[in-house]
Subunit: 316 residues, 2 copies
């Protein structure tokens, strides 16, 4: 499903729209990590965003983009992870209903968080078809507005606000690297960053067990089904059609990294930055380690996407 | 051993002196933690300070307070923890030698960090007497200047810069709470905070297995030996004589918390704030949970002192 890509102006509007609700997240540095890779690393800490992930930006922009009449009908999505939680929190800021379709077998702690944020859970079988069918049913029954996790113009615009903010905080970046799952973050950030600084080199990082964006770019056609096999639960989605278009237009270079490399990078980030970050977030640092020649001597922005971790089951 | 307490002016001078080297650490908030205790909590994140702990402030002020002639002789301390590492890093900023006396049996990872920061290690038996004898020997042999972890005017002034910074970042605090070990942080912050805002209520948090400051204040005389029994390796030191005077003068109210309460609070901070913090840091949040009536509805500043943790041996 193609959806329009947002423009830089859409992203600027989104930034104004979410400003009363979202956190301006800090950018952290580490001498030890800089020395490890021979570059100047600027970590954009979206694990410190409301709800513990960048997803709040897109969800919040979507919720506050609705007309009063639309908003009164509530919002719906399917997600067992950070987007579901973000949409629940964003809906709460506007006092409207949020319906979240969750597959059987999803992590209980994540479901509890979504419910605590005030959403109504709808369970379904753990397949893409079942999720979409259930979400359509909820839409029919309640009139709620669908807010897709990444194939949504408003969501992409919201995620792009992160790059606007980062480029204000760090004026001399040479490169920017984000993880790639469905591609909402990568698309929004590419559009925002190149709108402001066309010379910026933009990279994506993908687990080698979910490298559909890398393969789609290489082949020239979008892979439309595959079975992800990676520890990064936040990056198992198929890249969206429009999202892939954005990666192509902005010449995003995707670097793939193994789960072992990701786990090692996660531990290094915790140790050096004193931050709790998800394995999905560590793909970007793993990619810089793996291809350090490409980043040597450069000022590099890295997006740490989230910090919602089960502290009883650390990956190392 | 009594040492002069620093004045507010000393602390302001220290802030200017360390500004080129120290990090202005962020203050983080959490809706979930606020809701848990019914207060507005402002977490001052010294785990994000250089070296992963507030200790860099005091060590850096001490190193840059030396005359050129003194500096040429180098500095020495005894510490197997964050102060040793901080002094090594501070000495490196001035290009001078740092000697750190470390007891046998100290955590290897911490010793490696101290060595990596460029210090010369001197081993000794794990007793206070052996540490002091060894430090005196190093002083005699090298002429190095002693920088005590907390019974030192320059160190207290450096730690006090944290409160100056926090009161600039949060203008409407009702209360401030810091952990208490040797009392360098508590003394410096009390002097700085009351210098600026005399009405601020100041609290300390101590593990019940190392509650010598609480007991000393209660009895009216300083306990001068006891055997600490707490998981908080950063808070096992005896409160210094002058440090205790400062607590008295500033009516610091000490709240004691059990190791179990501290461990539970540590986990809650990791989960909600997405920060890696030491158990010593969590004493302050444990204290607010324990005595929530005293903090209800208040704007409370809490100092998260450090984040140097063994990720392979989490406390829960």
């Amino acid at each position: 499903m193609k959806v329009p890509l947002p423009s830089l102006d859409h992203i600027r509007d989104a930034a104004a729209r979410i400003a009363p609700y979202a956190t301006v997240t800090p950018v952290l540095r580490s001498d030890a990590l800089d020395a490890m890779v021979g570059a100047q690393l600027h970590f954009k800490c979206e694990n410190l965003q409301r709800g513990g992930a960048f997803k709040f930006r897109g969800a919040c922009n979507a919720v506050w983009s609705l007309t009063a009449e639309e908003a009164a009908r509530g919002v719906v999505t399917h997600s067992s992870g950070n987007h579901g939680n973000a949409l629940a929190m964003a809906a709460a800021t506007r006092g409207i209903a949020a319906h979240v379709v969750v597959p059987d077998g999803a992590v209980r702690a994540k479901l509890e968080a979504i419910e605590q944020a005030g959403a109504i859970l709808h369970r379904c079988a753990p397949t893409i078809a079942a999720r979409e069918a259930k979400a359509a049913e909820v839409q029919r029954d309640t009139g709620a507005i669908m807010v897709h996790p990444y194939a949504d113009t408003r969501v992409m615009a919201g995620q792009g606000t992160l790059a606007l903010e980062l480029l204000q905080q760090c004026e001399h970046l040479d490169a920017l690297i984000t993880p790639i799952g469905g591609g909402g973050l990568a698309a929004g950030c590419s559009i925002a960053a190149h709108g402001i600084q066309p010379s910026l080199a933009i990279y994506g990082a993908e687990p080698s067990g979910a490298a559909d964006a890398a393969q789609s770019l290489m082949r020239g056609t979008r892979i439309d089904h595959f079975t992800p096999d990676t520890i990064c639960d936040g990056l198992r989605a198929l890249i969206g059609e429009s999202n892939l278009d954005a990666l192509r237009m902005h010449a995003v270079d995707v670097i793939t990294v193994s789960d072992d490399e990701i786990i090692a990078a996660t531990r290094q980030l915790w140790q050096a930055l004193k931050l709790v970050v998800e394995v999905s977030s560590a793909t970007v640092f793993a990619a810089v380690i793996k291809q350090r020649e490409r980043f040597a001597g450069k000022q590099v922005g890295l997006v740490l996407t989230g910090g919602n971790v089960d502290l009883d089951a650390l990956p190392w």
